[in-house]
């Protein structure tokens, strides 16, 4: 079974590392990590991920802006994106998202569940 390519973007180094370790441990994914928006855009182009996990609040560029720029590139128009954010409903940030989002703190299991759902993997294949 080929590993699905996942790009993890989070400015929180500890979060990114812990999530990556869990994803790696599952043996199902090839994971790349970036800690800011511009690097994420570059890596996306070179790495060609099947799915991107995006933090929203980052210093250089917000996650929703990263998504907007990605979608301008034809290659990434249909790549599923999952937002993973410490933002909470109520301040308007999450309400406008068209992609699925998960609130921090979340478990790696929760994230993986959403990854599988977004990739459209049939339950049997998990």
């Amino acid at each position: 079974m080929t590993k699905r390519k996942i790009l993890l973007v989070d400015d929180e180094v500890h979060v990114a590392r812990a999530l990556k370790l869990n994803l790696d441990l599952s043996g199902r994914y090839e994971v790349r990590v970036e800690h800011n928006g511009s690097r994420a855009l570059e890596t996306a182009r070179s790495f060609g991920p099947d799915l991107i996990v995006l933090d929203i609040i980052m210093p250089d560029m917000r996650g929703d802006e990263v998504l907007r720029q990605l979608r301008q590139d034809e290659r990434f128009q249909n790549v599923p994106v999952i937002f993973l954010s410490a933002a909470v409903p109520g301040n308007g940030l999450l309400e406008v998202l068209t992609e699925p989002w998960i609130s921090k703190p979340a478990s790696a299991a929760e994230v993986m569940e959403q990854i599988e759902r977004s990739l459209g993997t049939p339950p049997a294949a998990c």
Partner: protein
């Protein structure tokens, strides 16, 4: 016919000495009722001899006498007892009948004692026999002096009356209550403002024993104390409470001063009571408004802080969650059970921290309500159901007194459930040994403020130890708690209040009179914002 004798100064005979020179500062006007001219002249000669400077007018008839009384305006009348058509008794009657107090001296030829006594009884000032005219000047002077004293006295009386009237007007028109008390505290005088201030007329109060009563909950503050204070420290205002006849208590500021006799020992006290009930109420309202403002500002800054902190804490918590997840898969926890325990503890701790963060956020977020038509009773029952096990464990006996006729309200079910879970938990935790808890719902009696919109009241009542008065103002502060560490984050009531206020309602916490606390949630019928 009247004969006038103008004033003229005469060489006074110092041997008579009835009128020391310089003593008489004006011309005396003498009206003589006399038909014999020579008798009149003799009388005048006597007066002159005594050094009296006078102007005289002699009349013989009643008509002339009456006219002279008003036109001549005599200082003294010398009346012959018997005249052809007129006599001294009639003259006296005319004088006194006119209201004049001018002295009248009878001057008669032959006179019996009976007639003299009668004349004196009718108001004559003196009587002189014509053969003893030397006595005339001193009689005139004495009568004049007497008149003068009388007039001074009258003037003093009038001044006193005016002054009394003035003070009466002042005390009767002041809104303050002016009292005069004896040293035993008995009311000797009280101003009519008592009707307005106490619902009692001055008549009810003077000597009344049941006037000054206790203020509920306060120490005894009565007139006796006010009086004692006045004697010790005159003019120092003291506070005092009196009950109006309509049952309401009025607050007064009293200032008392003692009234002392000539030896300086206190005889009585004047106590002036000013009704400060409205002023105190206004001051209390102002304090309340200021407190609310401070509270609102505090909430706002705490809210901002909370939102910032929450965001910063969520990322580290995520790293911990995921780290624990990873480690759990790396260790064989059957072989190393301590690791399993440790990981379990770490996860628990992270979850606990997250609950605090969630509470903070609930509190700080303006939060949108998901309003639907709900039955408050159902929400209360839902909250109770969630706590069923907790209550059984804590020996909490819960009685529901829910009004089945409540109208449906626009409520956010989840948030409102959170309100009652919090209130019920607080109530249960207030009774660590167990006890009775009552949940009530009802339609609040109409107070006429919002026409057609009723208020629904829900109360949670415990039988715990109550809240210390000094802590009462802090119960809604976030992070204020009396619970031991781990039992409460201190966010409960702050969040509860926030939610209730978002619904346009109000929450109050008060101690019950005997024991325990009542938390009352008031919600308006109709839509919330």
């Amino acid at each position: 016919m009247a004969t006038s004798y103008p004033a003229r100064s005469s060489p006074s005979d110092p041997s008579v000495g009835a009128l020391p020179s310089g003593r008489q500062d004006r011309v005396v006007r003498v009206l003589m009722l006399e038909d014999v001219e020579t008798d009149a002249e003799l009388e005048m000669a006597e007066l002159r001899r005594a050094g009296l400077v006078f102007e005289a007018l002699r009349v013989e008839t009643a008509a002339d006498f009456v006219a002279a009384l008003s036109q001549f305006a005599p200082d003294i009348v010398l009346a012959d007892y018997s005249l052809p058509q007129f006599n001294a008794l009639e003259a006296l009657a005319i004088v006194r009948g006119s209201g004049s107090s001018v002295p009248v001296i009878l001057v008669t030829g032959t006179q019996t004692e009976e007639i003299a006594v009668e004349c004196m009884r009718e108001g004559a000032d003196d009587y002189i026999l014509k053969e003893r005219l030397t006595r005339l000047p001193s009689a005139v002077l004495r009568a004049l002096r007497g008149r003068e004293l009388e007039m001074e006295n009258e003037a003093a009386q009038a001044a006193l009356q005016r002054s009394e009237e003035l003070y009466r007007l002042i005390t009767e028109n002041t809104h303050d209550l002016v009292c005069l008390l004896d040293l035993g505290g008995r009311v000797l005088y009280v101003s009519p403002s008592s009707v307005e201030l106490l619902g009692l007329s001055p008549r009810d109060l003077i000597d009344g024993a049941d006037l000054w009563r206790r203020h509920p909950g306060g120490e005894e503050t009565g007139m006796a104390e006010a009086l004692a204070a006045a004697l010790e420290e005159p003019g120092r205002p003291t506070e005092l409470f009196c009950r109006h006849q309509n049952g309401t208590w009025r607050a007064f500021e009293s200032v008392a001063r003692s009234i002392r006799d000539t030896q300086g020992s206190p005889q009585s006290a004047v106590v002036v009571l000013r009704d400060v009930t409205d002023r105190q109420r206004a001051e209390a309202e102002l304090r309340e408004a200021q407190l609310q403002l401070i509270q609102a500002e505090k909430m706002e800054s705490v809210g901002r802080l909370a939102a910032g902190v929450a965001h910063e804490v969520k990322n580290p918590l995520t790293a911990i969650y995921m780290g624990v997840e990873y480690l759990r898969q790396c260790f064989d926890t059957k072989v190393e059970p301590e690791v399993a325990t440790l990981l379990q503890d770490m996860e628990e701790s992270a979850r606990k921290a997250n609950r605090v963060v969630r509470g903070l956020l609930d509190f700080s977020m303006p939060g949108k309500l998901d309003l639907r038509a709900e039955n408050l009773n159902e929400i209360i029952k839902g909250a109770l159901a969630m706590l069923k096990h907790e209550f059984v464990r804590g020996h909490i006996e819960c009685t529901m007194q829910l009004d089945p006729h409540l109208p449906t309200l626009q409520l956010d079910r989840n948030k409102m459930e959170q309100v009652f879970v919090n209130l019920l938990l607080n109530a249960a935790q207030a009774m660590p040994e167990g006890g009775a808890l009552i949940v009530r719902s009802r339609i609040a009696p109409e107070d006429g403020t919002a026409a057609g919109r009723r208020t629904i009241l829900a109360e949670v009542e415990d039988a715990g130890t109550g809240i210390q008065p000094d802590q009462m103002v802090k119960v809604f502060d976030p992070f204020f708690t009396t619970k031991s560490s781990g039992k409460g984050s201190g966010l409960g009531l702050a969040v509860v209040r926030k939610i209730v206020e978002l619904h346009g309602g109000r929450i109050t916490i008060r101690n019950r009179e005997d024991r325990g606390v009542v938390a009352a949630v008031e919600l308006p019928e109709g839509t919330a914002e």
